[in-house]
Symmetry: C2
Subunit: 250 residues, 2 copies
Amino acid sequence: MTSALQPSPEHARLIRKFESVSRLGPSDIATLARLPLRTRSVEAGAEVVAQGATPTECCFVIEGWMCRYVMTREGGRQIVSFHIPGDLPDRDSLHLPHLDHSISAISSARVAFIPHAAVSAVLAHHPNIAVAFWRDAVVDAGVFRQWLTSLGRRDAKQRVAHLICEMFTRLEGLGLADSDHFHFPVTQTQLGDALGLSAVHINRTLQDLKASGAMSWKSSVVTIHDFDALRQVGDFDPAYLELRPMGLTH
Amino acid sequence: MTSALQPSPEHARLIRKFESVSRLGPSDIATLARLPLRTRSVEAGAEVVAQGATPTECCFVIEGWMCRYVMTREGGRQIVSFHIPGDLPDRDSLHLPHLDHSISAISSARVAFIPHAAVSAVLAHHPNIAVAFWRDAVVDAGVFRQWLTSLGRRDAKQRVAHLICEMFTRLEGLGLADSDHFHFPVTQTQLGDALGLSAVHINRTLQDLKASGAMSWKSSVVTIHDFDALRQVGDFDPAYLELRPMGLTH
DNA sequence: CGTCGTGTTGAGGCTATTCAAAGTATGTGG
DNA sequence: CCACATACTTTGAATAGCCTCAACACGACG
């Protein structure tokens, strides 16, 4: 079948993502390549799924960066995750009646929507894909734990360094980073909302990190000069990202 | 079959937990009642599963409280979750080669271990249980998001109030809380490790909360005098705990 | 009866915050 | 191509929230 041999670029992104967390067989890949995708372009800052909504589709990132966030009663905003191409920011909506958070585009982005029914059908009949789905969710949980650790027990410099290391490593795992730099379309205000800090303090902390020589950041491009130093500063251990796919069950 | 009609108290706890997140049919319940459990008592503070371990069983809480935590390089400890009877603190170990966190008993506790193979077999053949398993994981993720929001964007008083509300609501959902009070065997130091605060500051914050009249805390028992006030202070909305079980698929 | 874990209180200091303002890109319309 | 608007970054000063250190109180327990 032609579609199995030549998946669309969108499907290829999805397949690549699943292959980064779990091993898939040819029939799994062919199945993923046939998933119905409705693609859409969204501009920077646009809300794609609102808190409280009850989606009937899963959203998946093709291009650009997205984030999930929770608003507090007082208007504070906490970004709880960043999402890069291949990610399924609302994978949980499949098992949750209404979302407890919103999903927005950070940069201008292209996203695809897959009907819940299609996802459920694939999961029910393809155990390897179901395992990949599980592993993706479990890695996400590990990311949450690390973010919690950062917000609870790491200071500003460590938090920023840890996040830079995490995003660089995740992008690398999907083939989306160059050897020493990557596109980071996040404003300092958004960075503050993710790391539980004010934009002002993010700014000073970044200058501090730049002065140390481990990294630089100019017009949305982060360049890593000394990853090991950054790793050290941020207390970063990539183990939780589980970049080695586990074996097939079938 | 007798075991299906009269599940052991341990199995009853597990069944009750799954029923609190998802609807189960009689055959699902009978299946859960037959799961092989190896029970064990652990004393307060004991580590049950160590960071980096590769468990071959899932651990489940029968009695007492447990927690998961991550240590930073500098020796800081971040508690990332509390677990009460019915919870499966290392449910993720089923899909994760090695744990990125440790699991300890907070109070003296009784836990049971279920071999991964037994869990996998049940999930593969009982779609309703698989859905319950998913929903449990998804609710956990919601709890993580709320904790992140607390650590990132709520002050000390709000964090404590939010946690008290959350634990009270979770215990109630499992029938483990009385109308206005519950057993809370967590020290102020542990509370600090969970909320990203020092024990000293937790102490002052608690006094502040007690003075407001919304709650009191004496010898491991928290009494809620005005839940609504506490909910207000902590910006707590129970929606993320998803206490209404969703329907059957079969 | 002393010890250990936990809770309580005080003083001083540091981190990160808020508010305010100015500087710098980037994009837009004339 | 310039003038302007908008968004983002940078800087300074004053302050609040939380931390650390240190000491003491209290109850449980051997």
